[in-house]
């Protein structure tokens, strides 16, 4: 858990974090494989991290089939525990068939939740039948929470970085545009509105950005002097 906690406070690669997390999950919870599903921008669940290609395969299959415990946990927001996959053939025929081919006998799907919203699911696959021990259920819940926090932090940081880039551009452009309005208004003896309109007209006819036109006006004013 320490290496997981460490990754939360510095810049990190979210996929790498989640891969570490599913590997820990499999170790701690005695699962053959573990995987995390998150919705893509279109709302379709996709595998973001898994311990092996084997669980990746089944997850992808069940998502394509739109059935199975992983989808149920995500959609219901409730823990879905399958003590015997073989016994679910009637309910989820495609899932049960694919799982049996891969030698999974039981599985448990833990919804990843934040304040009542489900953002994904953590899925444990085992090669033995049986229930999820209550202690394991608590540990699984805690690991699902770590995954949730990691994902939210990464999203928040990414959005904040986009906002920061927008700030750099918008504020620097604004300052240059206002300075250029001042230059034009004084040198051409026109008001600020007219100065802005002339700059905008120049930008449109030359296809240049307004801030580039503004930069040019300022540097030309400076270069006029000897």
């Amino acid at each position: 858990m320490v290496d997981l906690a460490d990754t939360l406070v510095v810049d990190y690669d979210i996929v790498d974090v989640l891969h570490t997390l599913v590997e820990r999950c499999a170790d701690i919870l005695d699962a053959t494989d573990a995987g995390i599903l998150l919705p893509d921008p279109y709302g379709d669940l996709e595998v973001i991290a898994s311990t092996s290609e084997r669980s990746q395969l089944i997850s992808l299959l069940q998502v394509r089939a739109d059935e199975g415990p992983c989808v149920d946990a995500y959609e219901s927001g409730e823990l879905v525990t399958v003590e015997s996959i073989a016994a679910t053939f009637a309910r989820w025929p495609k899932f049960a068939t694919d799982a049996a081919e891969l030698d999974y006998l039981s599985m448990h799907a833990i919804p990843m939740k934040l304040r009542g919203q489900t953002i994904g699911s953590l899925n444990l696959f085992r090669d033995a039948t049986g229930p999820l021990h209550p202690d394991d259920a608590i540990a699984a819940r805690a690991l699902a929470d770590v995954a949730t926090i990691s994902i939210l932090q990464e999203r928040t940081l990414r959005q904040a970085q986009i906002a920061q880039e927008q700030l750099q551009h918008a504020l620097n452009s604004r300052v240059v545009i206002e300075q250029a309005k001042g230059v034009l208004s004084h040198s051409e003896n026109i008001d600020m509105t007219e100065a802005f309109n002339r700059m905008r007209a120049r930008a449109r006819t030359t296809g240049a950005r307004l801030s580039d036109v503004a930069e040019k006006i300022i540097s030309q004013a400076q270069n006029r002097q000897p």
Partner: protein, 229 residues
């Protein structure tokens, strides 16, 4: 599909600026706050201010180009002045001289960071002297980090827009100051950097704010071509 709200990026309505300082007032033992964003190029936009004194403190530091606000940016660390009257003002002598005439008795400035970049400062004041506890400092630092994305998005939207959010209480992008800077650059045949330095210096000499002087320049009641003083 579940969308987790992590801040305004584009499309949606930008957050209301007064929400940006509210969290600091609610969770910390302070009496006022202002939030300013900065770019790497040093351009600044004040997006939120709780009251006239918070605005005055921000303006004083902007006019003088020094104070805890700038120190926090420079050090990229919190700057704590628990007792304004007893403090050593040697790193901001002009501001130190001016601030003792205000009602602010303690000042605390926290950098706002996104990843490794400092994108703004939260300036807090208190009407009575006193230290912030370690817990308060940690809380303020966390709040400053949590508000950084939203504040940056707000400032970006404000700079992109028509400037109607600039008001007497919140300095905003100070459009009139940049317009005046451009005009003075022509009047003095100099760079905009030098023109702004002249504007700031003149404001200091005559004992008025840069905002006031800039408005006079834009209104053409003050011209730097003439000898001033």
């Amino acid at each position: 599909m579940v969308t987790i709200e992590a801040g305004h990026v584009d499309g949606a309505e930008p957050p209301r600026s007064n929400a940006l300082h509210a969290g600091f007032l609610a969770r910390l033992p302070v009496d006022g706050a202002s939030v300013s964003m900065v770019t790497v190029a040093g351009n600044q936009s004040t997006v939120s201010s709780s009251d006239a004194l918070a605005t005055r403190l921000e303006q004083l530091q902007y006019d003088l180009g020094e104070g805890p606000h700038y120190r926090a940016l420079e050090l990229q660390k919190p700057v704590l002045v628990p007792d304004v009257e007893a403090a050593d003002h040697s790193v901001w002598p002009m501001f130190g001289h001016a601030v003792v005439d205000t009602d602010a008795k303690a000042l605390f400035s926290f950098p706002m960071r996104i990843g490794a970049a400092t994108v703004g400062v939260v300036d807090l004041y208190r009407l009575s002297p006193g230290l912030l506890s370690d817990r308060d400092v940690a809380q303020a630092t966390a709040l400053a980090g949590a508000a950084a994305g939203r504040a940056a998005a707000y400032a970006a939207a404000d700079a992109d827009g028509d400037g109607r959010h600039d008001s007497a209480l919140v300095g905003g992008t100070r459009r009139h100051v940049h317009q005046a800077t451009g005009m003075i650059a022509v009047q003095l045949d100099t760079s905009v950097t030098d023109a702004f330095a002249r504007l700031r210096g003149y404001a200091y000499v005559v004992g008025r704010s840069v905002d006031d002087i800039a408005r006079d320049v834009v209104a053409q009641t003050l011209d730097f071509t003439e000898p001033t003083g």
